[in-house]
């Protein structure tokens, strides 16, 4: 990705998780620059994600502010997977108090949700309380070690 465009997109954050840029979230699937025109292809984390239009508008505004003519497309050509979250993104999630998603290679069965690692105390004696949380991309868990509820960014 073009370095300057990359830096601009780094400034656009997930509105629900403000520590995570769209680049680190992995929803930017393609960027093509031609002179002043920038084509950005984005893909939603979940098809029903209500923040998609908002994020698209934020990308357009950020590019326009730097003098570019943006053309942002939503596409399912390269579908999003939680493995596309960068290592930097996963560390930011954990610091924010959200358990990062486990590697999809390990994720052959949803049983793995039962063993989410607590982002506070790193305890593994945890329980899945519900596969649905405050946003489509989070599940609810409970840690028996520190006796606190926590959320995990769902593997997909």
């Amino acid at each position: 990705m073009n370095q300057e465009i990359h830096q601009i997109l780094e400034t656009v954050k997930d509105p629900e998780i403000p520590v995570l840029s769209l680049v680190d979230l992995g929803v930017i699937t393609e960027v093509a620059v031609e002179g002043n025109n920038v084509l950005v292809k984005m893909t939603p984390t979940f098809v029903g994600c209500p923040a998609m239009d908002y994020m698209k508008a934020e990308v357009e505004t950020a590019l326009r502010q730097k003098g570019y003519q943006p053309n942002v497309e939503i596409s399912f050509q390269k579908p999003w997977s939680s493995d596309l979250i960068s290592e930097k993104g996963k560390a930011a999630l954990k610091k924010y108090g959200l358990a990062p998603p486990p590697d999809n290679k390990l994720f052959t069965d949803l049983e793995i949700l039962e063993n989410a690692v607590c982002p506070r105390c790193n305890g593994t004696h945890t329980e899945l309380r519900s596969p649905f949380g405050p946003t489509l991309c989070r599940s609810l868990h409970y840690c028996y070690t520190c006796r606190e509820a926590f959320e995990q960014f769902k593997p997909l």
């Binding site: 979940f46 994600c49 209500p50 949803l110 649905f132």
Partner: protein, 250 residues
């Protein structure tokens, strides 16, 4: 191929939209906070998935998604009757969620290899999301299906009520052969077979009884626009804002 494909996309999109609306009726009323959130989240998923399917239809020349979703009458909808039935008590909503989402997960699984590439792409995406829906359904069916005499008898009663409608999911279209020959979709009969096997596996782990399939008369009609009296009032409520002001944003 166009008519056959459109018919397939319409019935899938309409199923997702109508059940999404029914799920959203649990918002604020769920028997537990977690269930309130679960049905609300599944509503959001389903309405979003219907939008993606209506958007595909729009690229095939149909009207824009909002117009298609909010301006048709009941007889122009192709959803199965199962999804339009009122929520009733939580046991019925849970059984419906289990029966429908099991079928939907298998349908999208089959569509991941569809020869119509835009649908295959979308199916590969939605398949992963639906795993959470079936996980949710299976967890509760297994738990409540073996819990107390009351939970077991309530679920059993709802299962018997819902099964004839659930078989209506697989009402065949006039285009089955075309869809199968062109490798767009495996067809309703093949899907139903997979569904019965999956339903029996989960129910087999509970104290619930699967009814004898041979004795059940499926309730058809939804795919051809013949609905129960429950769909039109649902549509009127769903499209109330749009009908007052089509340009309103909310």
């Amino acid at each position: 191929m166009s008519q056959a494909l459109k018919e397939l996309l319409y019935k899938m999109a309409d199923d997702q939209l109508i059940l999404g609306h029914r799920n959203s009726e649990w918002t604020g009323l769920g028997p537990l906070l977690e269930e309130d959130i679960a049905f609300s989240s599944m509503a959001q998923d389903k309405v979003g998935q219907s939008l993606a399917l209506y958007t595909l239809l729009h690229t095939l020349g149909e009207r824009d998604p909002d117009t298609v979703a909010f301006t048709r009458n009941a007889n122009q909808f192709h959803n199965c009757i199962l999804v339009e039935l009122p929520n009733q008590e939580y046991d019925f909503s849970l059984i419906r969620h289990f029966l429908f989402d099991t079928a939907e997960a298998l349908r999208f699984e089959a569509l991941t290899t569809s020869s119509y590439e835009p649908l295959a792409q979308l199916a590969r995406k939605i398949r992963g999301e639906l795993r959470y829906h079936t996980l949710h359904a299976n967890t509760w069916i297994k738990q409540l299906g073996s819990a107390t005499p009351e939970s077991i008898s309530r679920l059993q009663k709802s299962l018997e009520l819902a099964i004839p409608y659930a078989l209506g999911i697989f009402e065949t279209s006039p285009y089955e052969t075309e869809l199968i020959n062109q490798q767009i979709f495996i067809g309703e009969a093949a899907l139903q077979e997979k569904w019965i096997a999956r339903i029996e596996t989960v129910i087999g782990q509970t104290q619930l009884q699967v009814p004898d399939w041979k004795t059940i008369t499926p309730v058809y009609g939804g795919r051809a626009g013949k609905h129960s009296e429950h769909l039109q009032p649902l549509l009127e409520e769903m499209s109330e804002v749009f009908r007052i002001d089509p340009t309103a944003e909310w």
